[in-house]
Amino acid sequence: MAESLNVKPPPWLEFLVSRLVPPACREHVLGDFSERYTSPLQYAADALRTLPFVIAGQIRRTSDSLRLLMCVIPAFVFFGGLGRPDDVDSVAWLHALPPTIGVAIAVVLRSAYRSPDNASSRQAVADAAAAVACALLSQAALATIHPQWVLAPLTVLGGSVGTFVTVFALRSVSSGSDLRPALATDDLTSIDGLVRDVRQFERRIRERNRREVLAGLFVVVGFGAYLWRGPELVSRIGCGLAMTGALFIIYRIRTRGVAHPVPTDGALSAAMAVYRRELERQRDLLRTVTWWYLLPLLPSMVVLTLGQAITRSQPAPALRGFGFVLLIGALIRQLNQRAARKLQHKIDRLTAALENQE
């Protein structure tokens, strides 16, 4: 290994390889390659043999099937997977598959190549742009291979805009919540570690509440406008129910979801006990998401589906849309249950630390 002190890989080769290594493992993998370096050919061969494992490992670590589905299912719908309301027998779902697969590939790869230190909204924009680019690429490829399968320009435009907004929103929410498990770093038994964790927790809760309130207001304003100019009574009742549901969710978030400050200037055990209570409150909120978040919106969905079916005298498209909404609801529930389990894990650790102190 001593000879490698004087021999270094050519900068251009190292740069090329560094672009292919996911940022989360770039530092140590490139260091290991440099340490083993004997010649440019050996370096390239080493990289070619090792990189597939490194990339696959990073994809395994960062892939989240629930979040992937949350991106892919809306993309499928936006690219016309449910078909046009007046076109029941079409194979629209088959035509929507290539751009949806493109979006899935982009989301998986962007997750693997996401920088662990830079979880900004700019990254979320890049993720969304990559998803749309991959969807468009699939259309370009289809145009040369099988032009009959290319979607109509308006569907492509609608799908691209819808996918961009969905992926951007989801990636903004989930930024920085992946990668290596922090085994030694999130030390909750020291005051510094606890303060760091509490601040991060409070910031996340504040951001979530702000986001949910904004989304709720958006629903109220949007359905309010539709209610004002709504075509028939049933749909107008559905809009009213949606607005009521959204207002209830806002009320619940503002009353039960607020993060109470944890006093970190006193005794460590007192701060740990208060923090544990806060975590338990948030865990319970996540566990009961079906009752206060999903069910309040369900009556409006049922009535709106009914309204659509009556207006078009064609129940199939409205039922497909309803099924899609139910699926998204189930995914939201799963995501929240998983988040509750993560909080429970932290609560258990705090409980064990408190018992040790006693």
Partner: protein, 119 residues
């Protein structure tokens, strides 16, 4: 006694290497030691990385980045350490191997190890 995580053969080799290397356990050294242990089978650096990631996810090992060193082009090492759960899992695997070895000795006789090594 708490049940330990079941380990694959390659995972056992990697954990053994991490334990044996102590503070010097990082990608290159672990790979070199695993190659020695796996002889005559080959072990790639990529397979070692993937296994280390999996062991870290199972919380059997933990890792931290060291300070950058010049022989690595100014880049840091990711140093690995065996966690208590990893040590337990490795101990159980070693005991199972020992029992298997004893059972094989009953069938093949006491010289089987030397005979097979020649082959």
């Amino acid at each position: 006694m708490a049940r330990s995580e079941a380990l694959g053969t390659f995972e056992q080799l990697v954990l053994t290497a991490v334990l044996a290397l102590g503070d010097r356990a990082y990608g290159v050294t672990i790979h070199a030691r695993v190659k020695e242990l796996a002889h005559p089978r080959n072990a790639s650096l990529g397979a070692v990385y993937v296994t280390l990631d999996r062991l870290e996810d199972k919380r059997l090992v933990s890792s931290r980045l060291s300070d950058p060193t010049p022989e690595r082009g100014g880049r840091a090492k990711r140093c690995y350490r065996l966690e208590a759960a990893g040590e337990r899992a490795l101990r159980d695997a070693a005991l199972a191997s020992q029992r298997m070895s004893a059972a094989l000795t009953d069938v093949w006789g006491t010289k089987w190890e030397r005979r097979w090594q020649k082959v």
